[in-house]
Amino acid sequence: IMSPVLLKLSEKTTTNMICDLFQNSEDIRCKCICPPYRDIEGQIYKQNVSLKDCNCLHVVEPMPVDGKDVEAYCLRCECKYEERSSGTIKVTIIMYLSILGLLLLYMVYLTLLEPILKRRLFGHSQLIQNDDDVGDQQPFANAHNVLSHSHSRPNMLNKVEHAQQRWRRQVQEQRKSVFDRHVVLS
């Protein structure tokens, strides 16, 4: 039970954090592109102004031409208002990379580590019949063996294990259809 002051402070910091995450003040800009004019080179001007100030007069600073040429110069410039959400980009990329990383780790575990672990735990004898499968690489080869050794474990873990083995069998079936027999998705 926090005191009201602390509560309010923590509320404010969280909202601030969320705001900072999703709305950076640098995330709006007005970009003006001005082509070459007489002897002045082409230039790009950017400023963090709002939509109503997004025109040549506000953004192009310092103005490279004098008084009466300003209008002619500004007519050729094109100003566009753009906004982005840098917080969204950051969150999305980091989330994507973490999901990709998790999948890669799981894949490495299934293909490389699990057979080694099983071999150490259950000995060589059970694996001999699985090694001789032609054609199919079998990352899920020990499904049935594991299942049969798990009677003593509590119910929840059993269910998870069971579901996982069922999923592996499905994926093996799919792999056979797609990669080996070429009946689907060739």
Binding site: P35, E78, I89, S177, V184, S186
Partner: protein, 806 residues
């Protein structure tokens, strides 16, 4: 049309005896899962009856009647109490809730995919030092060091060579960049194919041919599952970022349909009824195209024209809703920083002239020719992959193609960047503000026109440079896409086709523009193109070319035009787009009637009866029906003289997907039809659950079982699983009518009778054994018609089973 299935729906009382308590008991026993009822044991509905096996077709009529029953039940119960009324309202609204959820999830996933692709594509060339999650454009967003000529350069973003060695230019830096580009491309594609292979093999390919087949009634379990969804999303990003010549539109349709399937499982209205589920999937496909192109209306039309099989008006409205929600969600995520949904949204409105229709039609012809070439070559390559050793090394194949693509793509600046950026640049009109090589026109220094109305100018050396680079890129893309589409990674076809068309269009556009400028006194140009006027817009030619090529490959018509003008915002350009699309479709249809998706369906042998095909041969049902003259007689069950053992033997010895039930073997009047799967499950359940059912028990399909002496084993009543209204046609029905019936009603089999009795082969007056039936394997309709058309005079060979050859 309403078809009543009194025997099939468990909610109606099919068993004899007292109706009222039986009905209530049945209803309650279906709701209480597994709670045993001691009373009326024999009338218990069999579990799983009415579901379908993998790689089988659904029974559309049964699903429709089930849904009508369910709806009737809910409506009648809603008058009872307030709670029931609320439940009925919730049931009515569940459809819209599902659409909303599909739109939200599809939009979110599409936004994630777009952002991730944007970043990872640039990762091949360099990295942003200030924040590694920014792509090149985002990294330089806030910097002030960008100049007019080098709009992309800023100190925060460095290429790999610059990062590693400190040199940005020079031969060594180039080679290092090249090497790292190829390395990243290989890494991405290797990860993609490994993930697909290990976790979800169904996630490879485009997905649209399989979704078409699923929507026509086929079942592929796991194709729209959760793991497929996850892996397809993740590996799509990897595949597109690796620089391969593929797009993400087809896979996005698959992703959206997976979302649709996912949300269907929340509501029993959709999860238990395969027909209703397919309505949701049609709408989900529309949402998928909507987020891929930023074209909601185009998405709905695409779903109507290309993907769906049955598309009632209710689905039209719901698809539109789903597509809109998806588009709004994507806009809220705002992946491109300027509230546009797609990377190549162009906004110019320069007019076009009637004389330009000639080059547009030429572009249409090019699109049609390219479409034909691509389809033939790609199908040949895929067939080779399917039948030879090439198919045994999918991972190596992906790596090899990626290596070749990356090595050849890097030197040409137009292929080095992502295909979407290329298309965006080609669609763009060259104002005074562009500094790319393609816009290197010779400017009049005294020109004082506003930026939008630049007159035609002579091309500078940069343009000629760009032209031959583009020509090389065109040849490269034409060749490499043939080998890329169909590999074991998610691959789409829209973007590469549009790229090919855009390159061709732009080249033609620049050629016409320069011709108009340099030869403005020729007759053709004199009328519409004065010197000092803005006549030709090469960007428009690029758009028209893209539409032509896309139409040539997929044979889309209305949806293509709508997608293109939603993409570009130019309503003025509808006529050129239509001209090109129509021309390319005519030219391509002259060589072969099928688009790429139908060709892949045929290659895989899916049972898909195309609604567009016409069956033009004058055969009758009697010519096609089975069993043929020399075949063993038809396998039937009698209504009250078959034992369980006989039935099991029948199931074991034959592989028909169903059996007719007749009154007796002497008078073979038809009672109904029973599906193989239902029969197998019923017998299996009866043997396990019901006491006293043994091999010599009698199977009854009648309403009232006869009173048997107590010494006889207990009978098995299977009236419940009998379909009392199978479709029958007479033997003189022309095959075109039969095929039409199959198509329009979604039948799987239909029975042939003569003079009210089962039709036979053999001499006309002899009553022979058995009813005959026609089971149509749609993928073989073509081969049948071919044999007949060859005029051999023999009966059309073989037939026609709905089951896949698995």
């Amino acid at each position: 049309m309403e078809v009543s299935y009194p025997a099939c729906s468990p909610s109606e009382g099919g068993g004899g005896g007292s109706d009222e308590p039986t009905i209530r008991l049945l209803v309650s026993s279906t709701e209480m899962n597994g709670a045993g009822n001691l009373m009326d044991f024999l009338d218990e509905p069999f579990p799983d009856v009415g579901t379908y096996e993998d790689f089988h077709t659904i029974d559309w009529l049964r699903e429709k009647s089930r849904d009508t029953d369910r709806h009737r039940k809910i409506t009648s119960k809603s008058k009872e109490s307030m709670w029931e009324l609320i439940k009925s309202l919730l049931d009515a609204w569940s459809g819209w809730v599902v659409m909303l959820l599909i739109g939200l999830l599809s939009g979110t996933l599409a936004g994630v995919i777009d952002l991730a692709v944007d970043w990872m594509t640039d990762l091949k060339e360099g990295v942003c030092l200030s924040a590694f999650w920014y792509s090149h454009e985002q990294c330089c967003w806030t910097s002030n060091e960008t100049t007019f000529d080098d709009r992309d350069k800023c100190p925060q973003w460095q290429t790999w060579a610059e990062l590693m060695t400190g040199h940005a230019e020079g031969g060594g830096a180039y080679v290092l960049n090249y090497f790292l580009y190829v390395l990243w491309a290989l890494l991405f594609s290797f990860l993609a194919v490994s993930l697909v292979r290990v976790f979800a093999p169904y996630a490879c390919g485009s997905g649209i041919p399989e979704i078409k087949t699923i929507l026509s009634g086929f079942i592929i379990r796991g194709y729209l599952g959760k793991w497929t969804l996850l892996i397809k999303t993740v590996t799509l990003v990897l595949a597109v970022s690796s620089g391969l010549s593929l797009g993400k539109e087809g896979p996005l349709v698959h992703v959206a349909c997976c979302c649709g399937n996912l949300f269907c499982s929340l509501f029993s209205k959709y999860s238990k009824n395969e027909g209703k589920r397919r309505e949701v999937l049609s709408a989900a496909a529309a949402a998928g195209v909507s987020v891929a192109f930023g074209a909601p209306i185009g998405g709905v039309l695409f779903s109507l024209e290309e993907v769906s099989y049955y598309f009632p008006l209710k689905t039209l409205w719901r698809s539109f809703f789903a597509a809109l929600v998806a588009a709004f969600t994507l806009r809220a995520i705002n992946p491109f920083g300027n509230s546009r949904l797609v990377l190549f949204y162009v906004e110019y409105h320069t007019p076009w002239y009637m004389a330009e229709l000639v080059p547009f039609i030429l572009l249409g012809v090019f699109g049609g020719l390219w479409g034909t070439l691509f389809i033939r070559a790609n199908i040949a390559w895929c067939r080779r992959r399917k039948t030879t050793q090439l198919g045994k090394y999918p991972v190596l194949e992906v790596i090899a193609v990626t290596a070749i693509t990356a090595v050849l793509a890097f030197p040409n600046p137009y292929t080095r960047r992502s295909t979407s950026e290329l298309i965006s640049e080609l669609f763009n009109d060259c104002g005074a503000l562009e500094s790319s090589q393609l816009c290197d026109y010779v400017n009049n220094p005294n020109m004082s026109r506003p930026v939008d109305d630049i007159p035609d100018r002579p091309a500078g050396p940069g343009v000629y440079n760009a032209l031959w680079q583009l020509a090389l890129a065109l040849v490269f893309k034409i060749v490499i896409t043939i080998f890329t589409f169909g590999m074991k990674i998610p691959s789409g076809l829209f973007i590469p086709s549009m790229a090919v068309g855009a390159i061709a269009g732009r080249i033609v556009g620049i050629a016409v523009e320069q011709m108009a400028y340099h030869h403005h006194d020729w007759i053709i140009f004199k009328n519409w193109c004065r010197p000092g006027a803005d006549c030709v817009t090469p960007g428009l030619y690029a758009m028209v070319g893209a539409a032509a090529c896309l139409g040539g490959v997929t044979r889309m018509t209305v949806s293509l035009v709508v997608i293109m003008f939603e993409l570009t915002g130019g309503l003025e350009y509808i006529v050129p787009l239509m001209a090109a699309a129509v021309t390319s479709k005519w030219v391509a249809d002259a060589f072969g009637k099928e688009g790429i998706y139908e060709s892949h369906i045929q290659l895989n042998g899916y049972p898909y009866l195309d609604v567009r095909d016409e069956f033009t041969h004058r055969t009758l049902a009697t010519d096609v029906m089975r069993p043929r003259r020399n075949d063993p007689p038809l396998a039937v069950l009698t209504q009250d003289s078959t034992t369980v053992e006989d039935a099991e033997a029948l199931i074991k010895d034959t592989d028909y997907s169903g059996f007719p039930v007749v009154v007796s073997r002497e008078s073979e009047r038809l009672i109904g039809f029973v599906q193989r799967r239902d029969l197998t499950l019923a017998i299996k359940t009866a043997r396990q659950k019901q006491d006293g059912v043994v091999s010599s028990s009698m199977v009854y399909f009648t309403e009232d079982a006869q009173q048997l002496p107590a010494s006889d084993p207990q009978p098995l009543k299977l009236r419940r699983i009998l379909n009392l209204s199978p479709f029958t046609v007479t033997d003189h029905t022309p095959m075109e009518t039969v095929v039409d019936i199959f198509r329009k009603l979604g039948l799987r089999q239909c029975l042939v009778t003569r003079k009210g009795r089962p039709a036979t082969h053999g001499s006309d007056d002899e009553p022979g054994p058995g009813v005959h039936h026609v089971q149509l394997d749609p993928s073989r309709v073509h081969s049948t018609s071919q044999t007949v058309s060859k005029g051999t005079g023999s009966r059309p060979a073989g037939s026609l089973w709905t089951r896949m050859k698995l």
